[in-house]
Point group: C2
Chain length 224, copies 2
Amino acid sequence: MSAKEQRQVPSDTGLSKQRVVLEATRLADREGVGGLSMRRLASTLGAGAMSLYHYVASKDELLDAMIDLVFDEIELPPEGTDWQSAMRRRAVSAQQVLARHPWANGLMDSRTSPGPANLRHHEAVTACLRRAGFSPLMATHANWLLDSYVYGFALQAASLPFDTADELAEMAEDVYLPQLPPDEFPYLNESAAALVDAGFDPAEEFIFGLDLVLAALEPLRTAG
Amino acid sequence: MSAKEQRQVPSDTGLSKQRVVLEATRLADREGVGGLSMRRLASTLGAGAMSLYHYVASKDELLDAMIDLVFDEIELPPEGTDWQSAMRRRAVSAQQVLARHPWANGLMDSRTSPGPANLRHHEAVTACLRRAGFSPLMATHANWLLDSYVYGFALQAASLPFDTADELAEMAEDVYLPQLPPDEFPYLNESAAALVDAGFDPAEEFIFGLDLVLAALEPLRTAG
DNA sequence: TCGTACACTGTACGTCGTACGCTGTACTAT
DNA sequence: ATAGTACAGCGTACGACGTACAGTGTACGA
């Protein structure tokens, strides 16, 4: 039980940056980013509000750390498969993580400096593409396109009031269609009907677009 | 000068929902969404804070209205050309509008109910796709893919600390590269160098990915 | 002249992030 | 044993926030 070497370990009672950031993301998952205040966070940790400032310089830094923790949850592209499988896997993982932490997307645009997990991730993805034969420039194009798709999809999915095909079917009749006079929005009505019929599911939709994107990128692999 | 018919017109001195929402987006453009408070907004309008609540039920409703005003700025897909040109035109317009109002992206995920301009836009885009031969289901796929790309790109672009190729070149040496030890991030270093060489420009990057997406969607047009 | 409606406002409450200065404990040097 | 130092954590206070509530004044129809 020498004291020195376990100083960094967060004892069950003591605080630590890890514990603060982790509990903050849990709180944000539960109550949304609006429900995350330093006072509330502190009280779920059994501490006073100002104690947090020993581990985090400001709320902004806390938010940055939370974002980086989210990036840390995303699977890196696995090695040892073709590049499309690897990228699909990490894209799906990213989509799931962003669905788990819906607040993360909204935070991204305000914080400009990437954290370590973000950088690590970016490096791994770029490595995967380069090894698959993409030139540095084409790898950048691919990265932008893939990330745009992942983030944009998450953004759209987050603003849907339903998560599954069943929930959509329920809502369509009660909420959506009443807002859409058929003479003003004929095509949206047609779409809504088709989606309910087909059992639209966001997770499947993500894969559909993702595969289109991956296929579109294939020709870049040996160009440039 | 009968009084009745110009009641809705915002006289130069009087307030109106239009004036409130418009000034709010101007304020947000200038100072970011964090700088938009009811008090500050009121004072730029030369009014008391509580006066705003005669035109807007809450700040949330104000934000919704601002988002819808942003949608209203986006060009609808023009009729009378092939669908790819039409969609490219509206996508580029959307990208420009989102770049002009960087705060809009971050707001999207929290507000779930689309405003009238949003619906009108969605209807027009769907109509364009349907008339081009997409089935209702394929039109939905296309819509999701395109919108994901547009929003996701805007999100990424907003978190870049530079806007043009020249600014990137300046920043790369001073800010970026020092954060990227070459032994830990070899591929990111390689990328950064390639981008500076090639004169990476976000606007061009957008078009590049967009054209890939449009081409990938072409086969869906006659399927399904 | 009165009444009523409406555009607008001042004050107040609870909450936020956080600056500042204070506690208590643990450990080192004497 | 004692004093000194470092640091984890806290209490209070300040200015800004969204907005509930109870006004105030002006315009206009009766």
